[in-house]
Symmetry: C2
Subunit: 329 residues, 2 copies
């Protein structure tokens, strides 16, 4: 009846977004306009059973909260590391970064528990969808996004659409190799940009320097008392003049830059968007490597740092918002 329709209009049309990364499992209520109304974060469990249980628990809690926040949840969008078949809602294969996460139907348990439609895609692909709907990718026909977190993900938009490839393995940009040997990667190969420039890779180098007592420099706050040595410590050490830390970051930035030049020479986008916490630290080096190593015709590319706080979550939400509103109107 009419009063019910008005109720629905007065509620904010929203999506539940789930992001499964190498470190955290996050759930958010996201409004139609891309506002994160409420966010929940937990460590991503190491086993399949614990992970699914936690996803359902967090989603159920968020659905209840959504009622009180006057948000009408139209569906659930899931962003996850690994290769995803979005038509089937299945995670085909993940690297060791997320264990027990291959050949997993993620759509069915969520849809059965919440009675909501569920969309699933790879986290880098979701980051690209977020840029397209809410960020620098708005109205850009061909662009690429690279998101650096624990690992490195990516998404490629061509003719305004994500490319998934013949076996849902396109835009696995973290596993572009820039060395015939190089550091070992979680994927089993070597020399991938994820093994040089991800949060995990920098943390490994920070630990190595710390163990050799080469990380700490004057001015650093209480490194010895820090529970974890992290990429941030490495960045701080480099800022304060630690040459070894600088060299690690320079190699990481160069590896990322060469990987991006490879992208330019393959799909030649007009824009590259860097996102994730390390994006701002890499931007200048990436631009410099492009200047040194890209073909003349690819030099005009723009490299921007994302404005979005949570690209993977926003992209997961955008799948719900785009599909459900298309259906309704």
């Amino acid at each position: 009846d009419i009063s019910q329709d008005i109720d629905h209009i007065l509620e904010t049309q929203s999506a539940l977004a789930v992001d499964l990364g190498g470190t955290n499992l996050r759930v958010a209520i996201v409004s139609m306009r891309g506002k994160i109304v409420k966010k929940y974060t937990q460590a991503n469990p190491k086993t399949y059973e614990a992970r699914i249980e936690l996803i359902l628990k967090m989603c159920t809690e968020a659905v209840i909260d959504a009622v009180h926040l006057n948000c009408r949840i139209l569906g659930v969008g899931v962003s996850t590391g690994g290769r995803v078949n979005p038509q089937e809602g299945v995670i085909l294969h993940s690297t060791k970064l997320i264990q027990e996460w291959s050949s997993i139907d993620i759509r069915t348990p969520i849809s059965d528990a919440l009675h909501l439609p569920v969309w699933v895609d790879n986290d880098g692909n979701c980051a690209a969808l977020a840029e397209k709907k809410f960020g620098h990718g708005k109205g850009v026909e061909n662009f690429v996004t690279i998101i650096t977190g624990t690992g490195i993900g990516g998404g490629i938009i061509q003719h305004n659409e994500l490319i998934h490839g013949s076996t849902f393995c396109a835009a696995e940009l973290g596993h572009i190799m820039v060395s015939l040997d190089g550091p070992e990667c979680m994927c089993g190969s070597r020399g991938c940009i994820e093994a040089y420039a991800s949060g995990m890779a920098l943390q490994k180098e920070a630990k190595r320097l710390h163990d050799e007592e080469l990380l700490e420099v004057e001015g650093m706050v209480d490194l010895k008392k820090a529970e974890f040595v992290s990429a941030i410590h490495l960045i701080n050490a480099a800022r304060l003049g630690n040459r070894k830390a600088e060299a690690v970051l320079r190699t990481a930035g160069m590896a990322l830059g060469v990987g991006i030049v490879n992208i330019l020479h393959m799909v030649n986008p007009s824009l590259v968007i860097l996102s994730g916490v390390l994006a701002a630290h890499y931007q200048a080096t990436v631009q410099q490597v492009i200047g040194q190593r890209a073909l003349t015709s690819a030099q005009s590319i723009q490299v921007l740092t994302s404005d979005l706080e949570e690209p993977a979550l926003l992209g997961a939400a955008s799948m719900v918002l785009d599909y459900t509103t298309r259906r309704i109107y």
Copy 2:
């Protein structure tokens, strides 16, 4: 009148194909069915003026021959190294492999001289068009071709169409880098697969070994009397047990393989076609590198060696045959 129409039908609808490579300038009369009716080869001149003059001379000769061969030339297709704007018929930029070949309108002089429509595209892109019309790419929605000659070119077919990118620099597969340093490339960068695995790169290594008197092994035919040391001498030496020659070829094949894995992780085609004289020598190594270094979801890729004798020429012809016959019927 009717008799003239019948004459036209009795003639073989054909294209003039021009291929401008790092070594040779070739022109061919190509029939609708992909048969090379007659072929002309000259060294590619080093200056713009000499090159244009020779192109026009060879094309004019071929047009006259075509009349006697009962071939009706519908247009001219040009395949060239470098970045090409096919809409404008302009070569935007070439590496040092073809000198004086940047910002060149190639369509106008040919069209003015021969009074025929002219299509132009990059040589690797033409090789992909040839595979799509006449080769292993028939009916394949997403595939990639890599052609090894003096340099290395490539073409990417996605959703049954070539991708050109935002500045006509897509599918520059020869300049995928697989090393942060690595050997110098004609493009000004380092570590490109062209600098490891092209005919030119292998010739350079063959010369180096020959100068150090490390190339010749028992059973090789008169290497000292050979006018040029070439990639073929290197391959023969490796076959006859020369460990240094083997190592060079192994590194070249591995570089090509890692470059191809990068392609799989970026556009994820269902098929990779290797063409050019060295294709057969690289196929096994490439397949092995994919087995070792590609993500599980990309392992199912097929790697084939092209059946086509002249992919670049056939692809250049296919642009003419596809466009003009679409117009006629």
